[in-house]
């Protein structure tokens, strides 16, 4: 039986971070993961992350994963893949299955970072091929380069549903609709808006009734539900889809925690059964820590910080760092973690928030249909006034919910954008400063909620610059359609410029020419089909 100072179970963001932190303190660390690839779910995350610079905001998940792996390798962390931990026994002994043989290991400390599993919703036909988890869709398209289907229904409007929905479109699928039994969109409004402006319909207070088909999904029937979650008869709609993607939340994967004998509690706010942990992630068994989703469902960014705290705590336990050094590290990490938990989607928040921290009323239309209505738009601090618009080029920041994120503030070289010290504040624009039109704010916004607008470019026409992440990238001079926030065609549009440099990390800034009176409406460019005549 081999012995290690620290055994980490799970090579996802939390586990790798714990291993890195402990190894950097000098500990001998081994990481076990049952998957063939390390990184947990990070390599499927192709969107830019939220947060601030220290949380690796505006970096894409898979790049964060690559960096974590490099760091672990440099520090000599041993990562054992295809290695399933079968049990945790007394005195921190574990059994691991690899290649059909079982081996035992012993750790002075153990970090359990097993992550989460997807929740499911049963309905008639949910066992048909073509009904898949949202994670499965991500694995297929973002790891293996295969579309899970051609026409997809997304069940669930949390961040997973919204983000995976967008990724499905990036992969070339048609997203027929997003439905959710809840009356309001569960995820970030900015994620919803990205889909709404491409024309994806949102059906809130809707559930799936059945999947049609004999040996594969050939359609789906959705139905409206009333306030007591009862289906409203006669409200059924049939959607022609070949794939139904389920994204109805995650549950902590806590079997090993329970096997180990750690005290647990069932906490709906954390997604289910989680270990009782102290502030360092230590469970009721001294020397066994839990970090990441297994300790409560959150984002990868928080999982990485929790992992670091657990890694540092284990290092302190075994004398690799002093109590003072640990306290210093922990305090910094704790602050960083608290920042991510701020805001209306944070850990402590309740679902029925009606106003932002600043007192702005939340957009009802955003929560109900995925886009901000024209009448609600002008309320927010990131939106220029009529007068501002007359002056020339201005940024328009359609960020209307308290999300922990601030890269836009640092992106502007001129200082036009202000978030302030509290990273969940809504960004405001400083219109007395002249916008240079560099577009860095547009690409820095992980929610793709920043646009540049010039109302008077040429007589009767103005310009709208928007973030664009689809293939093929249109060419300058291409004629297509301008779509408004709900995906309706409002006019024809001409691509005036395309800007894409390495620092923009694959988000292009597309500038289109539209009639002046539509510059505050047009928010997406839809290329015309080949041979299509645009009138």
């Amino acid at each position: 039986m081999e012995r290690f100072e620290l055994i980490v179970i799970g090579a996802g963001p939390a586990g790798l971070s714990a291993a890195i932190e402990a190894a950097s303190c000098g500990m001998s660390v081994i990481v076990f993961d049952e998957n063939t690839r390390p990184g947990g779910q990070l390599f499927k995350q192709i969107h830019k992350f939220f947060g601030s610079k220290e949380h690796k905001a505006k970096e894409r998940g898979f790049n964060i994963g690559k960096n974590l792996l490099n760091e672990a390798e440099e520090l000599g962390v041993r990562v054992e893949l295809d290695s399933t931990v079968m049990g945790i026994f007394r005195n921190k002994e574990i059994s691991v299955m690899k290649n059909d043989s079982v081996k035992h290991f012993k750790g002075n400390s153990i970090v359990i970072a097993t992550g989460a599993s997807e929740n499911m919703v049963p309905f008639k036909g949910w066992t048909l091929p073509g009904v898949i988890g949202a994670g499965a869709a991500q694995t297929m398209m973002n790891i293996h380069g295969i579309k899970p289907g051609n026409r997809v229904l997304m069940v669930g409007s949390g961040n997973v549903g919204l983000v995976v929905g967008y990724q499905l479109i990036q992969a070339g699928c048609i997203l027929e609709a997003i439905i959710d039994a809840a009356p309001r969109v569960g995820g970030y409004g900015v994620h919803a808006a990205k889909l709404a402006r491409i024309g994806v319909p949102f059906y809130m207070s809707h559930t799936i009734k059945l999947a049609q088909g004999i040996d594969r999904v050939e359609g789906a029937i959705i139905v409206e539900v009333d306030k007591s979650w009862k289906p409203v008869s006669g409200s059924e709609k049939t959607l022609e889809v070949d794939t139904i993607c389920i994204a109805v939340g995650l549950s902590p994967m806590s079997q090993l925690v329970r096997l180990a004998g750690c005290k647990t509690l069932d906490d709906p706010k954390k997604g289910g059964i989680v270990p009782l942990c102290n502030e360092y992630g230590e469970t009721s068994i001294s020397g066994i820590y839990a970090a990441g989703d297994v300790a409560g469902i959150e984002e990868a960014s928080s999982a990485m910080i929790q992992g670091k705290i657990a890694g540092a705590a284990a290092s302190k336990d075994q004398g690799y760092i002093s109590e003072d050094e640990f306290k210093a590290r922990q305090k910094k990490l704790e602050n960083s973690l608290l920042q991510l938990r701020e805001g209306m989607f944070g850990h402590k928040s309740t679902a029925q928030v009606t106003h932002t921290d600043e007192g702005y009323e939340l957009s009802h239309s955003l929560l109900k249909k995925g886009y901000i209505s024209d009448t609600e738009l002008s309320h927010y601090p990131g939106i220029p006034t009529e007068d501002d618009l007359k002056d020339g080029l201005v940024p328009v920041i359609e960020c209307t919910q308290n999300i922990p994120c601030n890269p836009c503030q640092d992106a502007c070289p001129k200082g036009c954008i202000k978030v302030g010290d509290n990273i969940t504040n809504l960004p405001s624009i400083e219109t007395s400063v002249k916008c240079s039109g560099c577009g860095m704010c547009v690409v820095s916004c992980s929610g793709q909620a920043i646009f540049l607008v010039k109302q008077n470019h040429s007589p009767g026409y103005g310009l709208v610059s928007l973030p664009y992440e689809f293939s093929p990238l249109p060419d300058v001079g291409d004629i297509g359609y301008a779509l408004d926030r709900l995906g309706n065609v409002v006019s024809k549009a001409e691509v005036i410029s395309i800007k894409k440099t390495p620092v923009m990390d694959e988000t292009a800034v597309l500038t289109m020419k539209v009639p002046s009176n539509l510059t505050m409406k047009a928010r997406f460019f839809k290329p015309a089909m080949k041979e299509e005549k645009i009138i």
Partner: protein
Amino acid sequence: MYRIKEHPILKSFQKGRLVKFEFDGNVMEGFEGEPISVALKANGVMVHRYTKKHSQPRGVFCSIGRCTDCVMIVDGQTNVRTCITPLAEGMKIETQYGVLNKR
């Protein structure tokens, strides 16, 4: 028709060489090393097995080796999780009926 040709963020996908394999007696092509389920999907195969009790069709569900819905008979071995088992040249893949290697 399911393979992503050009991805706006990921560009292209690293794949092994193109190899032939057999599915229920039909010769198909896929990339070496990719999960069997991906190669099958690219060939339009959705049904991986029929269940033991109700003979219901099942296919890929979780795609990460947890749910075991995608199991098939691979080179005579039953209950192989095709979503995490790499494709190799000449593999014989069969639809699984129930849990045993017989119909």
